[in-house]
């Protein structure tokens, strides 16, 4: 049996087994938590890399849980987009786990429950990315949501508690909308399997079900104006947790929307409904950026930046049915580069918080002398978030612009450009402080480089992604509805 076949059979076990097992064991024996967390995060990252290789070489993978093919059983699939999401989650989770070690050292050790929750969150995200079953996705969404809420609570203090509770209530409301949509889907079409529905479903029930599920996912993704819960939750959680939430948990909801609207919904319906997403996305880009500009705390600024960056993704949705491949790949690149850059930013902010003792932006003068490596993280992440070449963010923005112009969607073009300039404004507001004198000493002696390297790795990966864009773009298309289309079209 060659190694590729081995992977093709075992991949669900690889993605779910270690994380779930580790999570449960870390719960039973809290003392093992740290070792399990580090080990499983590394294992998971290795598995993700292997699977990326496998899918790139051998094409998408499928698996019928329980051995029952859909519609009776639950279908799992690992196509290009899914494996890229798995990779992003694995990298951020690994970096977060490495960073958590020193982040929590300031408080003694990671709070009780951190490692099991962390591992469960990893597993839930993996499960969410590979599921092709709408009801199974509901369970995954709940698992993800619970783990995320629990991790926010660990921020300690009343503010975190309130943020977590708000997050929980909003998330549950969103889940219920999604759940009702799934029920309608089953009632009307007798299956909850995505590929089957894509080939069978049509009619008003499909539209209603999609609308309900989309509304639920809007809440979970925190898209404007449903974003109100996001900044306090992401800004108040421990930094490694914020990294994971901002980088992946909200993007997971967008990932599902992409699946729903581009694989399931017929083109006519998508054309009718998706402009709503475009409008909300545009508003989110501007609103998030303006609030990021006004934020006084670094972590809150980063959280608002997430609101803004998510807007790009929603902005891309309505362009996708027509510009297909370019936007699909562009969105994949954007999700990936945002995940890496945002993860890096939050981990960096955590280091700042621990070393400086606060994260007020006004008080960051001279940070470039105290924590040069962390400031380098901010610079690299800024490059990707603003969309400056040669980062992954740049390629993504290039593809989105290309698609928007080719379709004559000038409003999207305007929002993309305004958003980039605003991103530059809020990122350089922080960087300008970092480069101002205000600290006479040299590098901070007590800061373990181990705390900073993971963040640096993520940020560098976000920038380097631009150089692998061709490969990533092609991989994202594997198994997608746009497989085989040319990536960059020329207007007729």
């Amino acid at each position: 049996m060659n190694p590729g076949d081995w992977l093709a059979h075992w991949w669900p076990g690889l993605l779910l087994g270690p994380a779930l097992l580790g999570g449960a064991l870390a719960f039973v024996w809290p003392r093992l938590g740290f070792a399990l967390g580090q080990g499983v995060a590394l294992l998971n990252a290795l598995a993700a890399v292997l699977l990326v290789w496998r899918v790139a070489v051998g094409g998408p993978l499928a698996h019928a849980a329980g051995g029952w093919p859909a519609p009776l059983g639950i279908g799992l699939r690992l196509d290009g987009l899914a494996v890229l999401m798995v990779l992003a989650a694995a990298l951020v989770a690994w970096a977060g786990a490495l960073n958590a070690r020193s982040y929590f050292r300031a408080h003694g050790q990671a709070p009780e429950g951190f490692w099991p929750l962390w591992l469960f969150l990893m597993a839930a995200l993996n499960g969410l990315f590979i599921s092709a079953d709408l009801f199974n996705l509901y369970v995954m969404l709940e698992l993800t949501g619970l783990a995320a809420v629990g991790l926010v609570v660990l921020g300690g203090g009343t503010d975190s508690l309130a943020a977590a509770l708000r997050y929980l209530l909003v998330g549950l409301g969103g889940s219920l909308c999604y759940l009702l949509g799934v029920g309608l889907m089953y009632g009307a079409y007798g299956t909850v399997d995505l590929p089957l529905l894509a080939s069978q479903a049509s009619g008003p029930a499909l539209g209603a079900a999609l609308a309900l599920m989309t509304a639920g996912l809007f809440f979970k993704a925190g898209i404007f104006p449903f974003h109100f819960w996001l900044p306090p939750a992401h800004g108040g959680a421990p930094a490694p947790v914020s990294a994971m939430l901002s980088a992946l948990v909200v993007e997971a909801a967008f990932y599902l929307l992409m699946r729903l609207w581009l694989e399931l919904a017929p083109l006519s319906l998508a054309e009718l409904a998706l402009p709503v997403s475009g409008v909300l996305g545009s508003a989110a880009v501007v609103w998030g950026a303006v609030n990021a500009l006004r934020a006084e705390r670094l972590k809150l600024m980063i959280a608002y930046s997430t609101v803004s960056q998510l807007g790009y993704l929603f902005l891309a949705l309505p362009l996708m049915p027509l510009a297909g491949a370019a936007i699909w790949s562009g969105a994949a690149l954007l999700v990936l580069s945002h995940a890496l850059a945002k993860g890096a930013l939050f981990l960096g902010a955590g280091t700042v918080l621990n070393v400086v003792g606060h994260d007020r932006i006004r008080g960051l003068n001279g940070l470039a002398q105290r924590l040069p490596l962390t400031v380098a993280v901010f610079v690299l992440a800024a490059v990707s978030l603003i969309g400056l070449p040669p980062s992954g963010g740049f390629l993504a923005k290039w593809l989105l612009l290309n698609g928007a112009i080719a379709q004559g969607q000038w409003w999207a073009v305007a929002v993309l450009l305004v958003g980039s300039v605003l991103a530059g404004a809020y990122m350089f507001r922080v960087l300008g402080r970092c480069f101002t004198y205000g600290h006479t000493g040299g590098r901070e002696p007590g800061v373990a480089l181990a705390a900073q390297w993971p963040a640096f790795g993520l940020a560098a990966a976000a920038v380097a992604l631009g150089l692998a864009g061709s490969w990533v773009g092609a991989l994202a298309l594997a198994g997608s509805p746009f497989e085989g289309d040319a990536l960059l079209g020329v207007a007729p």
Binding site: P389, A425, L431, T436, Y437, S470, A486
Partner: protein, 499 residues
């Protein structure tokens, strides 16, 4: 893989790698840093010389990396890029020496030289970019790597200047990005082609093309500091002298002007641009900038600000030469690309010397400084006279070709613009020279520092301006010699016009 494929990439790496290494050097590793800096600069000059020889012999160099299908990063060496590459490589070497001397004891040198190397890398990338995507990429990288240099002083004033610089360049970058993507959608990959890549595409909407032209040139005009987009340049004077020198002579401002040349010649094609009616407005903007910059320079008391407005004016000579149809004017514009770089870097080095040695920042304080620092002021005088256009210095050659080109194209008004500008140049440079050489010194100097060594100032500060001043003279006197900037510009013009 042959040398032809690798040379452009190697030229980039010769400054990129030292730059990245320097970031991680501890502050007190003085010697290692100097070796890295100078080693990289020397290797780069050597590599560039190899390439110049190759291009002259008709070889073509190209490094290519595919980012997305139909979206390549291309570095290549055509005649035009060689012009800027050679200038940048040479001046980087000189400026590195100067910067090492200038920043002798100041803090954060690792950060400074790291970004300094990145800045040069980006300028090289801009020069060698083989298509619009690559150009855009290095153009933005240039913004990013110069920002920390502009705010290097770390004062609130520097931060403000940095903010203004970013506001201008990021918005300009956004316009440029839009133009590039739009054009990409219309015609496909945007590889630079001598005589213009749009020549192969008929039947495109001329209005869309006009608008894209405005976006592209507008985005670059921010960096080239064309009026009314010049506001950031005088503010950016808070940067340390070597940075100003680099910004004005080879990197940022020059990248903008160079980009305009690329767009007009290699994207639109000069004849097609004229056909679309785009050249006349561009020439008008350039003419206004030339005069406006000179007038503003007259009123500046701060020496560096006077030089800054002088840059605003002088860089537009390049744009003017580009915007006038006809090979002679083109030669004038392109040769000024080099000549302006040599002259302006000399002036900034000298201003830096005055500030560093005697604490002089304002024109008023320069009385009698010629006797205190004769070498520096001699170099300054050569640079200033060159700017005015006194024969046989470099500036004269540029102006001569520009004027002749204007007459050639039947646009006599160009001569008047040039004459007015020369008069104004004289108006703001001659008083300085008069003060320096003929007025008695107003000792004590504002803040004099004792410099080690036998010369009027540290040798690392003194030699760079003297060398560049000599080059200013040589470029003028030996204009007709082979390999002179003028000869090279004529070669380019012949190719661009397909003669």
């Amino acid at each position: 893989m042959t040398l032809e494929n690798w040379l452009p990439a190697l030229i980039l790496l010769s400054s990129l790698l030292p730059g990245l290494l320097i970031f991680f050097l501890a502050e007190e590793r003085h010697k290692t840093r100097t070796i890295l800096n100078l080693g990289g600069a020397l290797i780069k000059v050597a590599l560039v010389l190899v390439m110049v020889g190759g291009v002259f012999a008709g070889r073509s160099y190209e490094s290519r990396l595919t980012l997305l299908p139909g979206m390549d990063l291309v570095l290549n060496a055509d005649a035009l890029s060689v012009l800027l590459v050679t200038l940048s490589a040479g001046l980087w070497l000189v400026t590195t020496v100067y910067a090492i001397g200038y920043l002798e004891d100041s803090p954060h040198r690792s950060r400074f030289f790291g970004f300094f190397s990145l800045c040069v890398t980006s300028a090289m990338g801009v020069a060698m970019a083989g298509n619009m995507l690559t150009f855009l990429m290095f153009f933005e990288l240039l913004t990013l790597s110069t920002y920390p240099l502009v705010v290097h002083r770390g004062t609130p004033e520097a931060r403000r200047a940095g903010r203004i610089y970013l506001a201008y360049t990021l918005i300009g970058g956004a316009a440029l990005l839009l133009g590039v993507v739009w054009l990409r959608v219309l015609v496909g990959p945007l590889d630079f082609t001598e005589t213009g890549l749009l020549a192969d595409h008929a039947g495109l909407d001329p209005n869309a093309l006009r608008f894209i032209f405005i976006l592209l040139v507008g985005g670059m005009a921010v960096k080239a500091a064309l009026v009314p987009l010049h506001g950031w340049l005088p503010q950016a004077m808070v940067a340390p002298a070597p940075v100003s020198a680099l910004l004005h002579a080879v990197a940022v401002v020059k990248a903008g002007a160079f980009g305009i040349v690329r767009v007009v010649y290699d994207v639109y094609g000069v004849e097609f641009s004229a056909e679309l009616g785009l050249l006349a407005p561009l020439a008008a903007v350039a003419a206004v900038t030339i005069v406006y910059g000179s007038v503003r320079a007259l009123y500046q008391d701060s020496l560096k600000k006077r030089l800054a407005f002088s840059t605003v004016s002088q860089v537009s000579y390049i744009v003017l030469g580009t915007a006038i149809l006809g090979p002679v004017a083109s030669v004038g514009g392109m040769v000024h690309l080099v000549h302006q770089g040599l002259m302006k870097i000399t002036l900034f080095f000298c201003a830096g010397n005055l500030a560093e040695t005697l604490g002089i920042h304002r024109v008023q304080e320069m009385n009698g400084v010629g006797r205190r620092m004769p070498y520096t002021m001699a170099a300054f005088t050569i640079g200033a006279l060159g700017m005015i256009g006194v024969p046989p210095l470099a500036g004269f050659v540029s102006k001569w070709y520009l004027a002749a080109g204007g007459l050639d194209a039947g646009q006599g008004w160009v001569v008047f613009v040039l004459m007015a500008s020369s008069l104004l140049n004289a108006g703001y440079f001659l008083p300085i020279l008069y003060r320096a050489w003929f007025l008695p010194a107003s000792v004590p100097w504002p803040r004099e520092r004792a410099m080690p060594g036998r010369f009027e100032t540290h040798w690392m500060l003194l030699w760079p301006p003297v060398i560049t001043a000599v080059l200013v003279v040589l470029a003028g006197v030996l204009a007709a010699a082979p390999f002179s900037p003028l000869e090279w510009a004529q070669l380019i013009a012949r190719r661009e016009y397909g003669l």
